[in-house]
Point group: D2
Chain length 347, copies 4
């Protein structure tokens, strides 16, 4: 087991970068050796994140100035699209967890269809392990490059994959109505992300064609063993953190609602970060704020043969930086939960 | 036409009461003669609503102390359950718009099933006209007692009724995923409505068995001409005003998505308060904040034969007090839009 | 009296522009003939403000394309600095209410000191009337160009000017601790105005040297008849609308706290938009949300000879567009309150 | 040094109780043996705090049912007033950190004046050590009963005490304008704490006579060596956590603003939880969210001889549960920072 690993965070000036740093600071076994932000290189981290002023971390540098031979692992928090070339250029000894979408889709044709251009590192794409940890733990443990899942896909797959694998629900007609806090959009200078444009209101976006759709369907298709197509609508909540997915399913023949709860309970028994909530009250996003947890509940619909699933995560933690640390823990031989055991901050 | 009607607001210390007062103050033809709040009787209105301190309105009184012979119409903003007996006791000359749920369900058995006790005024229940104005305008005009629709049912029925009536969508499998601001819960002293418990979080409630379900299904069943059962989940948004319903439908045989837009466009052509939004961007709740409007959009789902509808209202206006004023305007012979033409306050 | 005035809104794509449009739509005597936004010219207004989609307003145009000879009055909602040249170029027959800071400081040297460059239209600056309506009503009525006050200065001067004029408070040592909603910063693409950077937090800015300081002091100096210097700190609230100023004063010799209330009560007796709140409870910003009101309260401090004033406005209404309409009403001969009588939207 | 201490949390169903539990769970040396909530006794903790469902903690019990002989230390999170009698009844071997206001005022007459009744445990009041850790570290280390400071007093004293002790600022005329998140009001079922009443607005309360005033003045008087009276106004922010105090001071004779920064810098050099922020940008509450930190900045006012101090804390951590853990760490011989090293969760 590694006792201390030297880490670089590529793209340290965005929110997933900051969250990765926050978790690494409480980890005990990760040394934040290099933090990159090409346009802010040379500045102290506090210039982009004042809350880290006293953290004692190194100044921001350019990616090209990182001596990667002195680094054990990399969290790649760069924007989609630019990531492929950066990771292609990294030395082969590095463990890499990529938080972008660049390596999540196995099929290069699918990537091209949704992102509008050919993938720049198809060999790496083939090598990358999809890091939904609970579902791919062994592969992650042996991976060199992990494609960290998207936030919506994490919230959607965790409840659905065991049910599809067990053939407990119908494979068509699944509706995933998902709602996310604003940090999911990153630290982008967009008018529609201004406080004044987001607060005290709610809207849907990317209806029917959000880029997380193929990622969700890839995972569900794997689980079901045949092509799954879902109906998926993301919405923007006037709050910072949290995703809640309300998923409408129909029961398979002879299956009862209680069976769904049992399947999920068994699937995640012993899991440190995924829990089934029984008792009828659905979990709220505030119960996972700041944590690496996913909470799931199963509800009978009033209509015979129908059930409703609710799942919640913190999009920046289990939906991004937390799962990244969870994956790197496995890759480096740390205890999987190291640095991830915080209790939710409520209120 | 009435030039000025003398009005009593029964239950003036809650949010629908306050919103009714706000709209009446800007109406021009409504004199707020009596405001009741039994437990606060004798106090100035400012004791319960400081923002109305300078409005020049009468002190709060008990319902029993209202001289109803000097009143033309009543907005009844009392809690569900107590309303039946109050309205039963009112003189017959009064026009009444009831904002509670008490007279919304036509079938007494259905009422008993969902509310757990027999209806106390079944004759009135039979007389009451369901006040979803755009769909029942003529009946409202001639009504003495209008059952003002619930907020969720308003947001759900306006997009669905024309489509079901036109047989443009499948009648089963409709999913209505609805999200509401906190004012929808009223001014109740409940721990789960404290700022600290609601802010910066999101949750579902009443999953599969919310009391607005039978009201929604009653309207959809009327439209379809056969029993409709929908899947409906309400959620609580960390904001004050607004409901957004995301509705998943399947197209009827031979129907295209564009047909849905056309049907809705025709259904609401000329309507002052309902508009179809074309162009692909779904309306946000903030576009109707403080207004009596319902905005609707239609979206093709990626899956063939499926469409997604988005509808937004301000739950306190079109979902409560605004529609109540709209209905009373018709009942008293005012122009339907009187007092309701405010532009959304954005931001 | 004018029955209908044709209006141009210069800078219609920002928040003060939108608020001016909102108020004009409910005015009855203002026709929104031209809306400008140079970078968005040619687009429908809905492209920048979806909530105005159904308002039936003309497309955005460039300022240079406005036929000013067919316009009676102009609301100038342009950014500070650019405004001077635009207004200098307008035909002389136009009534102009300028919502920027460009004409608020009478002394060109003071302007240069705070804005870092010479004023481009010093003659106009001399002509401009400072439009704090309650204090300069007669001058406004006869003005051609009104410099509409800043939001902080409005909230600060309304309580202080009568007290200084009456010599009821000490002239030195006044502390104005002011807090503003985010709309006060305009619709600027700044990282520090993103939802994620503003929500769930609070901070001070411009400590000791905010540009509204000289404007505040100009008004207070006029009232006192000698130079007044105040201590002023602005803060950013995680909410959209509202300014609350907490002002710490010391009583003049022989003056009691009750005298302050009396002076303010008399100063604003009969005023439609300014009210003194007695009874010990300070007004909240939510009581003026969406309205043109300023509410003021006076409180005895525990320390002998000291008092605390609280004043609240909606920064977009009484602090910007509402006062602009109030001023134009006077300039055009409308009733002063026309279009401004809305009740606060609460909650 | 103690390796593991058995702890009881008295009053575990409120927010300071929950926050104490959260911090204790991440401490490593504190075993949460008993959690009390008299009215909820017998229920699982999840009944009052769903986010703690998976924490593996014992059910709630009555205080009378706690076997205090099996407990090493107590966090007392009970309401003001009831606490005195409870603590009076505890066995003498227990270390106690009281988070209520009951033991904060040394002078029984002062207590009676502000709380309206005689203190029920004056001997304990004499024994209690005021636990503003940085200022009373040695006394805390040897204390059996620590009166944990109030949230406002913590934010106010940390910047002011060193300056008064150094005679660097004038002793009269200090203005403390403080703003707090809603958790400061506790989990009280009060209408004015509903989401709908707090959100999207801002107000002052307890103007000139808040109960934290005598606590603040006690600490400042101690520091100055003579009676200090301050002007203090609390305000309620529409957010959960955080206090920001803006403090207006006048410099002592011959003192420059830079001297204030130097005094504070030296006073808190080496402190793990208090930091001076230089560079002109004042700290925001979001920089300390979830942490035990206090950040302070010093700003020159434009008026000669005047300065403005800004201080921020998380009211639930450094203003309550965090400081309580910090104190108990000292009392039990743990490293002072144990369990308190979290980085702020931003955004």
């Amino acid at each position: 087991m590694t006792t201390t690993a030297r880490i670089a965070v590529l793209g340290a000036s965005g929110y997933t970068g900051a969250e990765t740093i926050r978790l690494a600071l409480g980890h005990g076994g990760l040394e934040l050796a290099y933090l990159t932000a090409d346009r802010q290189a040379g500045k102290p981290l506090a210039a982009v994140f004042p809350h880290l002023t006293e953290a004692g971390l190194p100044n921001l540098v350019k990616i090209d100035d990182v001596p990667f031979d002195q680094v054990d692992a990399v969290f790649c928090c760069l924007p989609h699209g630019t990531t492929q070339e950066v990771i292609r250029g990294l030395p082969a000894h590095l463990k890499v967890v990529d938080l972008s979408a660049d390596f999540r889709l196995r099929d290069p044709a699918l990537y091209q269809q949704w992102y509008g251009h050919a993938h720049a590192a198809p060999a790496l794409q083939e090598e990358a392990v999809y890091g939904l940890t609970e579902l791919h733990r062994d592969a992650v443990r042996n991976a060199r490059l992990v494609a960290n899942p998207g936030c919506y896909p994490t919230s959607a797959q965790l409840p659905l994959v065991p049910l599809l694998a067990a053939q407990a629900i119908e494979r068509d007609g699944i509706v995933i109505d998902a709602k996310s806090g604003v940090t999911g959009a990153g630290r982008s200078l967009r008018e529609d992300l201004l406080f004044t444009e987001v607060s005290d209101g709610f809207h849907a976006y990317g209806i029917g064609n959000h880029r997380h759709l193929p990622e969700i369907e890839q995972g569900l298709t794997d689980a079901a063993g045949e092509a799954i197509h879902v109906r998926f609508t993301p919405h923007l909540l006037p709050m910072n953190r949290g995703i809640l997915a309300t998923t409408y399913v129909r029961l398979g023949s002879g299956v009862r609602v209680a069976d769904l709860a049992q399947i999920l309970g068994e699937a995640y028994a012993g899991e440190p970060f995924v829990a089934l909530r029984n008792g009828g009250k659905a979990p709220a996003t505030r119960e996972v704020r700041g944590t690496n947890r996913c909470l799931i509940s199963v509800h009978a619909d009033r209509i015979e043969g129908c059930a409703i699933l609710v799942s919640v995560i913190d999009n920046l933690v289990k939906g991004a930086a937390g799962q990244a640390v969870q994956n790197l823990n496995l890759m480096l031989g740390f205890e999987e939960t190291t640095g991830l055991q915080a209790t939710a901050t409520f209120p």
